[in-house]
Symmetry: C2
Subunit: 484 residues, 2 copies
């Protein structure tokens, strides 16, 4: 058994061949052999390149590679891996598509990265019940491709083609949330491997009802837990009828206030808008340059409506009336797929348009969410702060939810600028908190917002979260150093 | 201090004057004096009639009165009461309107019932943010009356004019859930007094954003916890735009299957139906007799649509097409308030219509929820089981969610019949579980469904729930004997 023990310091490392820059600890030969016995030798890697690829997401958080990467093929293997790590005190970092934005996969204490993407079955589709069960390797685009002929779709769309189980773990949302809700509202059940290897079905095994009042809401507890309480190995999702028809529209405004007022009025009028996205003047300018377009360089809304032909005509008419009442100009809309795609290109390419403002820089996207009425105030303030900071940044937001992103550019070779970007993100989070908002609407806490979380939920809130963590993960092995 | 100690057995009771039938324990004089010191002497009662009134809800569970009833006036007093009970080991039972259906307020271990209805402020309305903060004394009807001129409303409607904080505690839903969601989707934040008297704001103090990815979802954990984890002293709710216009409709079907198929097809066609209620032939017969009407004695749907005039016309046309395609007959609809009210009278009076079938009997409503595709199967089976059991019962359901109630009649003087009713409810719960459903869609677990909960979520699920309970209520004082 001694050979199975984890060597927690460099000095104890019995097998140094793989130990490259950034590794926090190392694993004993016996432990690695035990991993291989569970998943088969080809499904365990300690190659530096593989570990580094798994030690970072799409954020600015520096790469912190795990000690090993393992690809289980089924839930039974995940249970055995978890039990093995639990027994040996080795940290576990669950890994999906690596498209997170708050450093959620950084192996701050080393350990084993469990890459779940080989488990990629669409386990069960129940069209009449509007539900589907998917494994972690299924991304949202893969699911929607699979659903193509069913008349159903899964609308939660964070932009990236993320793993649906990863989206559940992060509590993701995105552009369609204003109408269809976030992952919190669309996850019906989760299969979770607990840190000690036991298997939990949060709503009971195989269950996929629309609602329940049976006991504590375990599903809700694991959605958004960022891999810190267990490994999500399957998720049951609520599906929606695919839109019969779709119309996209855009219009520009004389001020941020006018764009936000339009949003509130559209929601108050119960126009069931599917997407309502805000882009500031800097973002529009960047988009024009990048896409060779000539949209007005002004606060702009991009909208999308789903429904029958007749319903769409009415939604569009109402939205146009409301936006024009608020001073909108250049209202135009598109119905055919190609036209719509062209119109939304601006929004979809926003990230790359900002990157093109300073070639060679990396982008960093931070997000906050405030009560909608406070949006104009915080957007105006953010633009002023951006100017004062000397940073290059642009704003894009899911304005119907009060949620927006500030995409900041940073020269990766300039630590001072990176520091300024981090300080700016913290300041923005604090401003959102001061306006009764949250420091993150959809990216999660990860590594970057742990201090902000404490300020957001207060001492009793943090203490309660700590108790939850200690209860479900008593050895502190699940994605350590994240959230709390 | 000795006089403050709780006398946990009859023999130790220092003040027996109030000890009536059903009391489980008693409180020391000193402890009662301490309660009075917190809330003032008139806000503490140990009168038998008051205690009995607080020892039962609207279910068949026998009255189990608390040892005292206390009416705090503000959250500070609730904190002090909780701390006092915690310190002395006295159980606490939170009490709202007492309209629960699973014995949630029965004081199975005696203790102090904290009646929160004197805290009845609508604390803060934010129309632009579609949110409101209410105290426990505010009922859903009172809130909607307050919102009358705002263009907003709160749609969750379980039937009873329940306390909104109580509805949060139970995870209530009802007729509008198919479109607007349940309490789980409509609670944005909770103020909770923890068992030891500490104050928790589940989403942070004063916060009322639409969505968040910040840390563990504490709000979701307390929604549906049935008073077993803490006392909800305020809830922040998501409001919705009041419908511009409303149309009600009804139609009868040749079979249960045809009614359910229609429901699935209406949902698949993305008709945003606001209510879709199923009544079986027995229920329709009872309603005809009770209301002197002549609806077809057949499986029937009652529907309601919300939207603009134009949208309603289309929704109605589609619903009529779909139901007729499934063999519906007698489709008719009503637009004016009075007509609608007449049409829905049948549904709203369903409970009383069933009671009138056997005067002198009490009604008992049990609920389950299954995947919609399994509804025909379980409804047909339930009707057969009802016949076989010799019980009188009728079925009404929120069919769009797969949720239905069986309203059973029982002679309160006939313990054998009561036993049969209880056995029938257990059997129905097990049938729902066998079809991947839940033993309760909206009534909660309370006293009656604890065994079913274990079967529903399995050993690991129950163990996790037990750990949660032990973590948040280590002395086991919050509404003991419920849920687990």
């Amino acid at each position: 058994m001694a050979s199975l023990l984890r060597a927690t310091t460099w000095g104890l490392c019995p097998w140094r061949g793989y130990c490259s820059k950034g590794t926090q600890g190392a694993l004993s030969e016996g432990f690695v052999a035990a991993l291989k016995a569970v998943v088969g030798p080809p499904q365990v890697s300690m190659a530096a390149a593989v570990r580094e690829q798994h030690g970072q997401d799409e954020s600015m958080h520096r790469c912190q590679p795990p000690d090993a990467v393992v690809w289980p093929q089924n839930v039974d293997q995940v249970c055995r891996l978890a039990a093995l790590c639990y027994c040996q005190g080795v940290p576990i970092i669950p890994f999906g598509t690596g498209t997170g934005l708050e450093g959620g996969v950084c192996a701050v204490q080393g350990g084993v990265c469990i890459n779940l993407t080989h488990m990629d079955r669409i386990v069960e589709l129940n069209p009449e019940d509007f539900s589907v069960v998917v494994e972690p390797g299924v991304t949202r685009k893969a699911l929607n491709t699979h659903l193509w002929d069913s008349g159903l779709w899964f609308p939660v769309d964070p932009g990236a083609d993320a793993s649906l189980c990863g989206m559940a773990a992060t509590g993701a949302s995105g552009t369609n949330a204003v109408r269809y809700g976030t992952m919190r509202e669309n996850v019906l059940n989760l299969e979770v491997v607990l840190p000690d290897g036991r298997l939990l079905h949060t709503a009971g095994p195989g269950r996929h009802f629309r609602k329940s009042a049976a006991g504590y809401n375990l599903t809700g507890l694991f959605v958004g837990s960022e891999g810190t309480l267990g490994l999500i190995t399957a998720t049951t999702l609520r599906l929606h009828p695919a839109p019969e028809a779709t119309v996209a529209a855009t219009c520009a405004f004389p001020s941020v206030q006018a764009a936000v007022d339009s949003t509130v009025h559209i929601l108050q009028a119960a126009v069931p808008v599917a997407r309502i996205e805000f882009l500031d003047d800097v973002m529009m300018d960047a988009c024009n340059r990048h896409n060779k377009l000539n949209y007005s360089v002004a606060p702009t809304l991009f909208l999308e409506f789903h429904g029958s032909e007749q319903a769409l005509a009415e939604q569009l008419r109402r939205a146009e009336e409301i936006t024009q009442h608020n001073g909108a100009f250049h209202f135009f809309w598109a119905k055919e797929a190609e036209e719509r795609s062209r119109l939304w290109t601006v929004r979809h390419n926003a990230w790359y348009a900002v990157l093109a403002l300073r070639p060679g820089c990396k982008g960093y996207s931070t997000d906050v969410c405030v009560p909608i009425s406070r949006l104009p105030e915080i957007l105006v303030q953010t633009k002023e702060d951006l100017k004062a900071s000397g940073l290059t940044g642009a704003i894009v937001g899911h304005v119907g939810d009060g949620n927006f992103h500030c995409i900041l550019l940073v020269d990766p070779e300039d630590p001072e600028e990176l520091h300024r970007v981090e300080a700016f993100a913290q300041q923005l989070g604090r401003q959102a908190l001061a306006l009764h908002g949250t420091c993150t609407g959809e990216h999660g806490i990860g590594l970057g917002k742990r201090q902000l979380l404490q300020e957001e939920v207060g001492a009793v809130g943090v203490e309660t979260m700590r108790q939850l963590k200690a209860m479900l993960d008593p050895r502190g092995l699940m994605n350590p150093g994240k959230v709390l």
